[in-house]
């Protein structure tokens, strides 16, 4: 037992050494002795830019350009999907809508995930509607109007889908019903023994 455990530690020893070695090599920054050699110099200017660069940076024209250009960067992240050009935010919205719609050709895939040509066309339509500024509900309604509620991967609660949503609760109710019926059907405990019964029992156990 002790031998085994010692061998276990022996095996671990080189690994430990290796880890320490690595730690020494991978340490960030210079070794302790050199650590203070590159102290940050005292700043010669309070600005983060050199005086010459500062002069150019603060020119009116440059400032005006940046004023126009920088905000447009937020919208400039255009992506192209299925031949439609739209911003990243619009694409995310379109993907979210497409994920909730069923591809009618493959029927168990979403429009977003399907490679069917109809799914591709519907992706294009979704993106065109998103770019045109239609709401998610309007785009969903567009699809339901053409393909019925089957196009929705999550069916809405309606008289048609009532049983679908109610079935877990119905099953639970049925289970409880069966349970109570089964409990009722267990026979009640037998009545206590009468005097004559006891005498008979005594007689039987005696022999």
């Amino acid at each position: 037992m002790s031998k085994e455990s010692s061998s276990f530690f022996e095996k671990k020893e080189p690994k430990k050494l290796l880890l320490e070695g690595l730690r020494g090599k991978c340490r960030l920054g210079p070794p302790a002795g050199e650590r203070n050699r590159h102290k940050p110099r005292k700043p010669t200017s309070k600005s983060f830019l050199l005086p010459r660069a500062r002069r150019i940076f603060f020119k009116k024209e440059v400032l005006a350009f940046l004023l126009v250009f920088l905000p447009s960067l937020a919208f400039a992240q255009l992506v192209q999907r299925d031949g439609v050009t739209l911003t990243q935010a619009q694409e995310t919205r379109a993907e979210n809508i497409g994920d909730q719609l069923r591809c009618l050709v493959c029927q168990n895939e979403s429009i977003e995930g399907s490679s069917a040509s109809l799914a591709h066309q519907l992706r294009v339509i979704i993106r065109q509607h998103v770019v045109a500024g239609d709401s998610d509900q309007a785009i969903m309604a567009f699809m339901v109007q053409r393909y019925g509620i089957f196009v929705l991967l999550k069916p809405p609660f309606s008289p048609l889908t009532f049983l679908l949503y109610a079935s877990p609760f119905l099953a639970l109710a049925l289970g409880f019903g069966a349970f109570f019926l089964a409990r009722k059907s267990t026979p009640p405990p037998p009545p206590p023994l009468t005097e004559s019964d006891r005498a008979r029992l005594e007689k039987l156990t005696e022999s």
Binding site: L104, V105, L118, Q121, I125, V144, G148, F150, A178, A182
Partner: protein
């Protein structure tokens, strides 16, 4: 007491037997081709087709939704494509229907005019009017999700029935025939 207990034991068996009977019926009907579990109910039923105008192809006249407002007799609009296998399967039945006086208008879905012409010369042309939906966008407005699809339009221009898939003999006898009688 015991009868109730027996009843409890019989309940699961009865449920299984009922499910079995259900599966049997569904499979039987699937086999005889008058039930398709993938078929969707069309939201167009009970309504007029959405606005559209499609050009003719194969030298035939195209049509628009206004041409379907009040046909003299119930008629069919058949979506097909030369590249579609089940379309060729139902072509013979469409020819028979046309020869028996049923008006059928065709819409070639995402098809080139040359391919449509070649297909019609091979399988026969049952269409009195023939339009081309090259982009497939009109099809989306109709709720078409594959070809072939056949729509029955009554004398008031209202869509009464939609069949997605080939018009087999069983469909003609079992469904289309009675529908045509009903809306004649």
């Amino acid at each position: 007491m015991t009868t109730r207990r027996n009843l409890l034991y019989a309940a699961p068996l009865a449920a299984v037997a009922l499910a079995g009977a259900g599966f049997y019926t569904i499979l039987r009907r699937m086999q005889s081709n008058d039930y398709d579990p993938h078929a969707l109910p069309s939201p167009l039923i009970g309504k007029r087709p959405p606005p559209f105008t499609l050009p003719g192809t194969n030298g035939q006249q195209g049509f628009s939704n206004t041409d379907l407002l009040s046909p003299p007799r119930p008629m069919l609009v058949n979506w097909f494509a030369s590249w579609c296998g089940p379309c060729a399967q139902e072509a013979a039945n469409l020819d028979i229907l046309a020869q028996n006086g049923l008006t059928i208008w065709g819409i070639a879905y995402q098809d080139s005019p040359a391919a449509t012409a070649a297909y019609l010369s091979q399988y026969g042309n049952p269409y009195t009017r023939l339009a081309a939906d090259a982009s497939g966008l009109t099809a989306i407005n109709w709720g078409v999700y594959g070809v072939p699809e056949t729509y029955l339009i009554d004398k008031a221009g209202i869509v009464r029935w939609r069949w997605a898939g080939a018009l087999t003999d069983q469909v003609l006898m079992g469904t289309l025939g009675p529908m045509l009688h009903q809306y004649a």
